[in-house]
Symmetry: C2
Subunit: 214 residues, 2 copies
C-alpha cells in the first residue's frame, strides 16, 4: 500500500473531528443521563470516552460547552422520538408520542430531571433556550397533529397546561418509581382528552376532532 493513503485528506480530517466530537458527546450523555450535571467534569467525560484529558479539552473548551452540545443532541433525539409515523391515526400517534416521551425520560432520567426541575446548570442561556424550544416544538406538534395551523387562545392554554402536567408527571414518576408506567401514560392520555373536551365545548373544530378519534 502506498504510504500516502494513510495521510488524512482535508475531507477525512473534517469527518474525524466531527466523529471525535460525536464520541465525546455520546460519553457526556451517558454521564449526564445518570448523574447531576454539576457532578460531571470534563475529565470524567474524557475517561468515559476513553480519550486523554488534553484531547477532550481540545474539542471542548469547558464543561458548559459540552453540556450545551449534549443537551442540543438530547433535544433533537427527543423530538425525533416524538414524531411517530405520519400514517397512524391521530389517537395512535398521540399514544405513541406519550410512550416515546416516557422512553426518553426513563433512559435519560438524571438529565431529564435536571433539565425540567430547573437545576442551576440547566438554566444557563443556551440550555434554557433548548428547553424552551423543545416545549414549543411539542406544542406545535400537538396543534399540527390535530390538523390545525394555529391554536385558538383556549386551545393554546389547554395544551400548555397539559404539557406542563406531562412534565410534572414524568418527574413525579421518575423520582418515586412506585407506579406502573402504563398507568401514568394512560392518565396523561386521559387528561389530554379531557382538556380537549373542555375546549371543544366552545370550539367546533376541536369537538369534531375529538369525535373523529373516539
Amino acid at each position: 500500500m502506498p504510504a500516502v493513503s494513510t495521510a488524512p485528506t482535508p475531507r477525512r480530517r473534517r469527518l474525524a473531528v466531527a466523529d471525535r466530537r460525536h464520541e465525546l458527546i455520546d460519553a457526556a450523555l451517558v454521564l449526564f443521563s445518570s448523574q447531576p450535571a454539576d457532578d460531571v467534569t470534563l475529565d470524567d467525560i474524557a475517561r468515559q470516552a476513553g480519550v486523554s484529558r488534553a484531547l477532550a479539552y481540545r474539542y471542548f473548551g469547558n464543561r458548559a460547552d459540552i453540556y450545551a452540545e449534549a443537551m442540543r443532541r438530547a433535544a433533537d433525539e427527543f423530538l425525533t422520538r416524538l414524531d411517530p409515523p405520519r400514517n397512524g391515526t391521530p389517537l395512535a400517534r398521540i399514544v405513541q408520542a406519550i410512550h416515546g416521551y416516557f422512553d426518553f425520560a426513563e433512559e435519560h432520567a438524571a438529565g431529564f430531571q435536571a433539565l425540567l426541575r430547573g437545576d442551576p446548570a440547566s438554566q444557563a442561556g443556551a440550555v434554557g433556550e433548548i428547553v424552551a424550544e423543545v416545549r414549543a416544538a411539542l406544542f406545535d406538534r400537538l396543534v399540527d397533529g390535530m390538523g390545525r395551523r394555529a391554536a385558538t387562545p383556549q386551545l393554546r392554554l389547554a395544551l400548555h397546561a397539559w404539557i406542563a402536567g406531562a412534565e410534572a408527571a414524568g418527574l413525579d414518576w421518575l423520582s418515586h418509581r412506585d407506579l406502573d408506567r402504563q398507568v401514568v401514560e394512560d392518565f396523561l392520555l386521559d387528561q389530554l382528552y379531557n382538556a380537549l373536551a373542555a375546549v371543544g365545548r366552545t370550539d367546533d373544530d376541536v369537538a369534531t376532532f375529538l369525535r373523529g378519534i373516539s
Copy 2:
C-alpha cells in the same frame, strides 16, 4: 407630657426596625410585581419606599437579601389567600382557592411570572426553596381538602400534574391576556375534577369524595 415618653424604649426600637424592614419589603414587592427582578436595584427600592439609599443598605445588605425576604412575604400572602374558610363545601373551597390563585397571579404578575418561569434570579438557593415550599403546601392543602392524611402514588402524581398545569395556565394567561379569567379558572376546575375522576377509577376513597362534591 413628660419628655421621657418620646425616647424609644428597647421594645419600641425593636418594633421600629421591624416596621422599617416591612416598609422596604412593601416597596420591593411593588417593584418586583411589575418588573423583572433583575431590573430592580436597591436604590429603586429605597426611592419607592421614600427612604435614603444609606438607610436601605443598613436594613438589607444587598438586593438578593431583600429579594429573598420579599418572596418569602409574597409566598406567605399567597398561601393565606389559598386558605378559604373551613366551613365551605369542598367544591366551594376549591373554586375559591383557584380564584385566589388567579387574584394573586394578577396582582403580582411580574413576580409570579419570574418565579414560575424560573428566571435566574428566582433560582438562587433561598428563593428556589420558597417556590418548592409553596408547591408542597399547595399539594398538602389539596390532599387535606379531600379529607385525607396522605396521598396514594396515583393521587400524588395526579395532583402534581394538575398543580404544574395550573401554573402553566396562569403563565399562559398572564402573558397573552386574551382569555377571560373565568374561562381559565373553569378549565382548571374541570381538569382537577377529571384528574380525580381518573384516580377514582381504582381508588374508592377518591371516587367517594367526588360523588360527595358533584
